[in-house]
Subunit: 331 residues, 2 copies
């Protein structure tokens, strides 16, 4: 027998445990060309929240009473496919199942001798590529510029900041606990960090931490923090709009200050970024990230939860800021 | 004696006549290398409102009790500069004065045999170049795409739409009177137009006029109209943020819906545009605009007020939507 997690109800606002359901099924058999996969690590990510709504977005919504799908690292338990040997590890978009059958499409082999398996869900996976390609393709950083990151202690933000330092930028992170601030500055080499929950005046705090203004804003949160940043951007600033976790669970759109005058006055750019549009650049990005990782210039933080049944709560806890770095569930 | 218009008080909200003051001075003499200019046409533009506030923007604020400066067409009344002959016409950023002295820096000769003088303030001036370079450099239009324009009957908007048609786009304009809508569709060749003052549901109206969604949004207004547009943009849409006349006179920033989720979901781009950043592209743009004008493919609309003392009111009336096309004052 093997377990699967289904989307049982479409969440309203913050997702709840009762929106998910665990079922048990017989372990599947494999046919010619197929492999049987055992899930080792599951990635839980804020963007999955959008797919739980019944609205068309950049990926189709999850179907009700069907399994959730996210990035997963799995071991090949049995194989009738010559490309995948028993005992190999693969990465891919797979269902929240303990065991599942695949024909191998879209799966990538991962090398556990180069990095721990969970790193392929984070710094050497979509997370790292989002950080690298968002920063370089839209941010177009120039040495000496100032990079500000919201959600800086999150999976993507913590990698963006490290890459910013490698590229010679002044890097400032915004996060919500002093423990996260400490991580950013002490362990990840950020130049400064701001605790938005303890800061009465975000505009002044950003100006203080970014004395030459903000050239690149890597935005993972949206909302009031991003409103404040508008007052601090330099001429020709670039905002990478990578996520808006602050509003993913809102059932109606909150009001915000209008960006238009700021963009005109500063001739600034804001651009939405989704990693799936940059698939042609994955190999180059992965090569660069792996090199930096192996040189010890890129470290990563992860929050690991344990057990298959822990997946829904790990996902829910993302919206409470419970994770430092990448949130991963080890099965 | 010759008259000058000074900024007497910094306007609060909508500018008033009493914010300006007309003074009389002796007609100036010219020295070696100088020319005496007689103002023929004065351009009044929404962006001047920003310079009347005491805040740093992309151009420094106007000084109190000093003349306002805008684009002007003038005749050379007398010359001690070999580059400018008596009787020639020039265009440049000049003071709101009936007569003034210049050393010729920054002045461009204009050819009254190719187009009426006032056209060099509009379709063949900064207005036309803003339309052409904003649309092509940021909008990057592809034949068959849909272009939506706010402030479409204004100076810039009315040229943007015509260029859109020349480039093979589906062009829709938003304006505030039925007379303006008629101008857009009947005289300027727009495919459709929307009267925002008579439309209860802008989102539905835009969807109706843009059945394939909006690929390029040329925004001259900001505010609630631009909020509505967010719901209609296509994947990879480009917004040219050219102006925000709806908020230029606001003393505090109104609230708006946040753009972040829309930009992420649609991987859309918003970019502030100011023509002065594209000075290296003026000659190419002017050549293209002049060619289209001479081929009869580009017409222009202007609202001409008369008399030097009419300048402040013409400027004030811009914010009441009193102009169709370029607002110009003939001296």
């Amino acid at each position: 027998m093997t377990r699967t997690i289904l989307l049982d109800k479409r969440p309203i606002g913050l997702p709840k445990s009762s929106d998910f359901k665990i079922i048990e099924e017989a372990t599947p058999d494999i046919g010619d060309g197929q492999i049987l996969l055992k899930t080792m690590y599951v990635s839980v990510d804020p963007y999955l929240r959008g797919r739980m709504n019944d609205v068309e977005s950049y990926t189709p919504p999850f179907e009700l009473h069907k399994p959730i799908v996210s990035a997963v690292i799995a071991e090949v338990l049995a194989s009738k496919n010559s490309h995948f040997k028993k005992g190999a590890f693969v990465s891919g978009m797979l269902a929240w199942k303990e065991e599942q059958v695949s024909n191998g499409d879209g799966l990538v082999k991962v090398d556990e001798t180069k990095a721990p398996l969970s790193a392929y869900l984070g710094v050497l996976g979509m997370t790292g590529m989002t950080a690298y390609l968002g920063l370089t393709e839209i941010g177009k950083p120039k040495k000496g510029e100032t990079l500000l990151i919201s959600g800086a202690a999150g999976a993507v933000g913590s990698v963006v900041g490290q890459i910013g330092k490698i590229l010679g930028l002044h890097v400032v992170g915004i996060a919500g606990t002093d423990e996260k601030l400490d991580l950013l500055v002490t362990e990840l080499g950020f130049d400064a960090a701001i605790n938005y929950k303890k800061t009465p005046d975000m505009v002044e705090a950003i100006k203080g931490a970014c004395p030459h203004g903000v050239d690149i804003y890597f935005d993972n949160v949206g909302g009031p923090i991003s409103d404040a940043v508008l007052f601090t951007i330099n001429t020709f600033a670039r905002t990478i709009q990578c996520g808006a976790i602050s509003v993913y669970n809102e059932t109606s759109l909150p009001k915000s200050i209008p960006v238009h005058t700021f963009l005109v006055r500063k001739r600034a750019l804001m651009q939405g970024f989704i990693i799936f549009d940059y698939a042609d650049k994955y190999p180059k990005a992965l090569t660069q990230l792996t090199q930096w990782y192996q040189e010890g210039r890129l470290t990563y933080t992860e929050t690991i939860r344990e057990g298959f049944e822990a997946i829904p709560q790990a996902f829910i806890d993302l919206f409470k800021g419970a994770n430092k770095g990448k949130m991963v569930v080890k099965i």
